[in-house]
């Protein structure tokens, strides 16, 4: 195993260790914040599969997150806990199904069109929930009782318990990470990398590029659905804002800030974003001004995001050879 890979693996194990032990020492507030960060990390990694690994800049990724969140509420019984084994697959499936249908349309476009069309489709789905009684209008809907996992009479897992929920999120973060790593080294993952690098050549080599992109889009949508499921369970209510374009913009921001095409970067971006959000909003209620200002500064002064710094320095030393 190359030293760099080994180093990365060790670092990840260390982070996992810290995350696993954190609830023993942290306060309820920080546990919840960390759980939120981990959920956003899953969300951002799912988008990284599109933006960073396939070269598809989607500005509508919140749609899948939001659809899954709504699915959680709609599938759960009103006054009883839903069954995790029903609710979770239903949430992921509905997100993936919506991603499939949306993908059929948006993947017919490229580049700047793709950015605009994904945004527009996400907005369309926003209106579906905003305008229909299904989604409770602009007030949203409540998840009165959180799902649980029960076999026979024994209660195995109750998502209403903050600590159990925390560990479930951590588990899913690991699952999502491993899933993406495995996917990326599979033939499909290599084909996606080829599409990002040179879509035209992939076509002329005989790859049905559209189907590959659709597969990536659906996988990313389903994973975003996992994050949406967790988010609905964490907060206990879902409003249309969860699939608004701000949400799509924020998750794109996380991916870019942290560094595209690395997975770890997306998670770091999620961490940085949520922490910045907390810090800024503790300073002023107009915290979005600070966030916006920071984005503008990063783009103007640090093309490629915060994480590009080390790579840029290295690039300067070795000289050239980078692409994409």
């Amino acid at each position: 195993m190359p030293a760099a890979v080994k180093k990365r693996r060790n670092a990840l194990l260390l982070i996992l260790f810290v995350l696993a032990l954190f609830p023993l020492f942290g306060s309820a507030y920080y546990n919840e914040l960390l759980a939120k960060i981990m959920i956003m990390a899953i969300f951002a990694m799912s988008l990284d599969l599109l933006v960073g690994f396939t070269g598809l800049v989607s500005f509508g990724h919140a749609a899948f997150f939001g659809v899954a969140a709504y699915a959680v509420v709609l599938v759960s019984p009103k006054y009883d806990p839903g069954n995790l084994l029903v609710v979770l697959p239903a949430a992921i499936f509905s997100a993936a199904a919506v991603a499939f249908v949306v993908g059929l349309f948006v993947l017919r476009t490229k580049g700047i069109y793709f950015i605009m069309v994904t945004l527009a489709f996400a907005q369309m789905i926003y209106f579906v929930f905003h305008d229909s009684p299904l989604g409770g209008g602009s007030d949203g809907v409540f998840l009165n009782v959180k799902p649980e996992l029960r076999i026979g009479e024994t209660l195995l897992l109750d998502l209403g318990s903050p600590s159990q929920f925390y560990y479930l999120v951590l588990l899913f973060l690991v699952v999502a990470y491993v899933f993406l790593r495995v996917l990326l080294r599979s033939p499909l993952g290599h084909a996606l990398a080829g599409i990002k690098s040179n879509e035209h050549r992939m076509l002329s080599l005989g790859f049905p590029v559209f189907l590959y992109k659709l597969a990536g889009f659906v996988a990313a949508g389903g994973l975003a659905g996992l994050a949406g499921f967790l988010s609905a369970c964490q907060f206990g209510f879902v409003t249309p804002e969860i699939l608004s374009w701000h949400q799509s913009g924020n998750v794109l921001l996380m991916v870019i800030l942290g560094g595209m095409g690395t997975l770890n970067g997306a998670a770091i971006g999620a961490f940085a974003f949520v922490v910045l959000q907390e810090v800024f909003s503790s300073v002023t209620k107009h915290w979005q001004f600070l966030m916006g200002g920071m984005i503008v500064l990063v783009v103007m002064l640090l093309p490629g995001g915060l994480s590009s710094l080390p790579r840029r320095l290295r690039g300067l030393l070795i000289g050239g050879g980078t692409h994409g």
Binding site: R185, P187, H190, S197, N198, R201, G206, H323, G324
Partner: protein, 253 residues
């Protein structure tokens, strides 16, 4: 005559009011190296693009093993066995030479649904990639990142990628462009080696190379076929000489 593989029948392609190709017909046979000559702007690249599916024809028909493929997408044609290379190097610059070819080979055995397996784990793909590199004379550069290869080597990689897809038709757009004389010789040797098992369409500027390897030559001028036949016929043709020595050269792209 050898097995007929690909036929173009009355192909035309118009851009605005201009015909880039007008009523072009030709046949490609297995074991026959068919070269297309012509001044700049004669429509040679357009012809390759029409045959590979990168451009849809305005008029005309393309038959592949008696099947009309005029409406097929480029990827479908490629999977059917029509491989092409590009005049401007068109590779995956950040991948190694081997990875470029392995990915090309993967297009024949997609395995897209086996997302739990490692792409590098398939021995058949690795073999196909290595064989293609070997054929194109790039075996020594196997693990170098493509963008760091020399221009000539990138041209070789361009061919190797096509070979890794094991095509029965090769559409080669100026494979010798920008190559040194030694590299050119190697490429000519490669073409001769490939010729018996493939139907090859070679677009090339290098006259010496063309007359050395071609079995059939078609000369195009201003989007149309001027003359087509064995090299001796082309060499002797008055029309071709006039086109090359006369006004044809001013026809720029």
């Amino acid at each position: 005559m050898a097995e007929l593989v690909l036929t173009a029948k009355g192909l035309s392609r118009r851009f605005g009011g201009l015909f880039a190709n007008k009523d072009v017909s030709l046949d490609l046979h297995r074991g026959v190296l068919h070269a297309v000559l012509g001044p700049n702007g004669a429509g040679k690249s357009t012809l390759i693009n029409l045959l590979s599916g990168d451009l849809p024809p305005t008029n005309g028909q393309i038959l592949y093993r008696d099947q009309d493929i005029s409406g097929w997408s480029p990827d479908k044609r490629s999977r059917a066995g029509i491989g092409r290379s590009y005049q401007r190097t068109n590779i995956f610059p950040a991948f190694t030479a081997f990875e470029n070819c392995r990915l090309a080979a993967q297009s024949r055995a997609p395995r897209a649904l086996r997302i739990l397996s490692k792409a590098q784990g398939y021995a058949d793909l690795a073999e196909a990639a290595d064989r293609a590199l070997e054929q194109a004379g790039l075996a020594e550069r196997r693990d170098m990142v493509a963008s760091t290869l020399s221009h000539g080597e990138q041209r070789q990689l361009e061919i190797a990628m096509v070979l890794a897809t094991r095509p029965s038709v090769l559409l080669l757009d100026e494979p010798l462009a920008g190559m040194g004389s030694e590299e050119s010789q190697a490429m000519v040797a490669l073409l001769q080696k490939l010729s018996p098992d493939h139907a090859i369409l070679l677009v090339e500027h290098d006259m010496d190379a063309v007359f050395a390897v071609a079995d059939v030559i078609t000369v195009m001028v201003a989007g149309q076929v001027l003359e087509s036949g064995p090299p001796e016929q082309i060499r002797a043709s008055i029309a071709v000489q006039e086109a090359y020595l006369g006004g044809g050269e001013s026809d720029n792209e």
